[in-house]
Symmetry: C2
Subunit: 547 residues, 2 copies
Amino acid sequence: MGADQEPVAKKTWQELQAAKAAERNSRIPEEWKLKADQLPSEDVVDLRPIVSSCGILSSAELAITGEEYDASSLAAAIAAGKFTAVEVVTAFCKRAAVGQQLCNMLTEIMFADAIKRAEELDGIFKTTGKTVGPLHGVPMTWKECFHFKGYDSTNGYMSRVFQPADHTSPLAELLQAAGAVIISKTNVPQTMLVAEAHNNVFGQTKNPVNSRLSCGGSSGGEGSSQAFRCSALGVGTDVGGSIRIPAACNGVYGYKPTFGVIPMIGYSYSGWTGSNTGIPAVSGPLGHSVRDLALFTDVVRAARPWRFDPAVIPNIMEMEPVSRKPVVGVIHASGITPHPPVRRAVREAAAKLAAAGFEVRNFTPPDLLGVRDVSEQLFTLDGLSYPKRECARSGEPPVPSVLKIGFWDMPAKTQEEAWAWNTKKGDIQKKMLDEWQRVGCDVVLSPVGPHTAPKPGEWTNDHYTVVWNVCDYPAVIMPFTHADPALDPADVEFKPMHEADKKNQDLYDPELFKGAPVALQIVGPRLGDKQLLKDAQLLDSVLNGTA
Amino acid sequence: MGADQEPVAKKTWQELQAAKAAERNSRIPEEWKLKADQLPSEDVVDLRPIVSSCGILSSAELAITGEEYDASSLAAAIAAGKFTAVEVVTAFCKRAAVGQQLCNMLTEIMFADAIKRAEELDGIFKTTGKTVGPLHGVPMTWKECFHFKGYDSTNGYMSRVFQPADHTSPLAELLQAAGAVIISKTNVPQTMLVAEAHNNVFGQTKNPVNSRLSCGGSSGGEGSSQAFRCSALGVGTDVGGSIRIPAACNGVYGYKPTFGVIPMIGYSYSGWTGSNTGIPAVSGPLGHSVRDLALFTDVVRAARPWRFDPAVIPNIMEMEPVSRKPVVGVIHASGITPHPPVRRAVREAAAKLAAAGFEVRNFTPPDLLGVRDVSEQLFTLDGLSYPKRECARSGEPPVPSVLKIGFWDMPAKTQEEAWAWNTKKGDIQKKMLDEWQRVGCDVVLSPVGPHTAPKPGEWTNDHYTVVWNVCDYPAVIMPFTHADPALDPADVEFKPMHEADKKNQDLYDPELFKGAPVALQIVGPRLGDKQLLKDAQLLDSVLNGTA
């Protein structure tokens, strides 16, 4: 294997860490930096209002980056000549700069290149009267694990710093060709297997909605980025909940496609390349509306990505979805009982849908804790030999949240053991399909996890999300309500089913969780992505009153 | 793991072999047995004419089972009341009985149950005036690796004899529900990884077209069965060429689908279940026309198999294919130079298509010998621990053709090694896709192998077929010509590229191979199965003058 097994450098990992932090800091213009007295004290929970009070963004820039717009309407406004791409991109870069100083969600900052690209786009628009594509001038942020030529792709490994990529990931190129402007990459956890965004290269990311709670992960930087509105549209990846958990924690929308819908080729692996753990990772968007998730998907599919990525399934998304009121299967709880705000959200959503004339039926998935057991074996087929090797190369230690999920010490599996775990996975897939057929539902409504965002490093149970990776079903995350001590008192009559159930419920603290976003997970059948995105728009309109 | 790891019985494997042979023989009625003086001498090459001369089938039965009909026209004749299901099924059972005595291609004979089922179908037709489905009364044979309730599923392992299946494979149930009548299962090689049909349970299958040459495999029993017309339609499986090689060897049609088109759930594994070698096995038909391959596929897809098999891709086949003259990429040779008859077949086919106005372009695949190296590593991830265990349980030895392919002594791979091989596989897939795009072809025309059927046990190079499993592209096998010493003299000017190339060309003997079927392989893009089947019908009409 050669050079990549050798120790990285003469420098210690702490020296590399400092150099990398200096590089990142140098990419934020001085005039966009918060003054010392503008930095919030530890007891400030909601960090978002600071963007308005700090004075770095003009009122026009606050409006462009504010809740009035999603990516779809922003693209329309640029295409209509209401804003230039430079205006929009600059506004978002400034907002992202503020977000970074408050929440530490950015990794490779690309503001200078972004504004230059926006100028080019404005030039083209001025000359031709046409946009280059449906995302002309739309600022995007991307999870660290995509390559952008000239920028590092560390995935939070110290062994990979100061090794700029020699190419841009094809998915990113595709979106750029449609007019998107990339303003930064966003933070991830070491190993990318944790529902956090903490590593030795970039540090820990904060949740801007409630700074005391986790930003989730592994696309945690992107979840934080979207919640702070650092960009109009973000991209993450998901192999166990890594798009959905941060979308839920930070109160934004997210979509985990079925494998084969969105190209993954040429992205930056965080383990052995070509891994066939039996659970495929997928890319997908995080953003501010269901229609933005659909816009992203439509742009990607319109580029016919099966022409360059052998894993992409052709034509499957090109059939028109039908207009319908989907039959909704509901999972209230499985394996671990959710915290009161999560239970309330699912209960209220189901009631609201029933009241609006939707057929709502109970759905009983295969035991989700059993599913989780299978997934953690499949995620550790190699005994995490890749991250261990990378840490050894730089001398950096595993961060606490990596050790906490319990993967670190799991042994490597033989081929026979791997195949036995894959057989169990197949049994789960069959049970899920049989239940779906038995219930006769079109979508499933489920919690995203057994809690809202917990304290940083405490999201250790991914069983409500990983099951849909194991089964490879698409899922949309939709914000729905917020934790409210008045509505969500601790459940004093709670009878735990087992120790893990007790431990989870003990985490609930109505005051700590106050205001935490509570999201819903809407799941569709495997490869039913196009119809799911349409169904989710309808459900969102009923549940959230969106247009 | 328990009971299945224990030695099977008090009986030796030779005693079990004799008991199994007696059981099979007892399932052929005495009046369908050839007399000693009707058995051909060793020097009879073409065994097919014996079905006409032996007197066991009436002239009506010879007509029903003869070349006048394919499955499509037979189904139409039954539906029109021209034949009863009992007439048709009985005729094929008799023909299969004769075939078995000449070629040894059957494993679990089901004649009695088949005729009983045909009587039921006739009763339904008489009562309702309707068929039960599009295959009403059509006799089928199935590769040994499918389960049929009440019959063994040994896959040629002595350790599995006299353990009847407790269920029927869902794919078989689906075809039965459409009216198909199963008359027998057909032979396979020990391990199912060899292009042969030889195992200790059922012995060696012969090629009815040229008894001195191999029947191919692993669906070798089915290839032989279709060539002898033991049934109207057969089913095989293919992970490296196992449908295509026997179809080519025996001069019949065959179709290897993309993975996810035809359900595989609930069939009888020949290795560890749930294996994720990275190269998925698929099921598909062997038969007498391209339209029969399409009929099979349409029947399967019409049953919406994604409702019961989580691996099946929905909707992908439900888009209407277009009428077109496909642009044809041609592979004349790669890795090992084909024998003269194979070179001639591809050359003549390409010329015939060009003359008919098709655009024909050269296609250069990734190095096929390199592809083969990757596939053999992926096929032996476990060091063949499963077949070794099964052999140890009964005490049976590996048969010579299993030892000859060189898999038997390959070591087990670590997870890291497995992932490295899968990375190479991904590189091959990408190169193939890039070449497909560069050439701009709709289908590829290729040899099936570096020779026609060789002597039994000598098909050891599957690189012209396994590449399409590695890349997961669908392929249709189409008979085209026959080896002819006058047209295909040995190539005296041949300059071998390497030792394997020389060894292959040395195998060529114009007199031995005389009359051997020479087939073409027509490949479509991944998941372009529906269009490929339509394109193949057009190509067949041009190349073979079929309607």
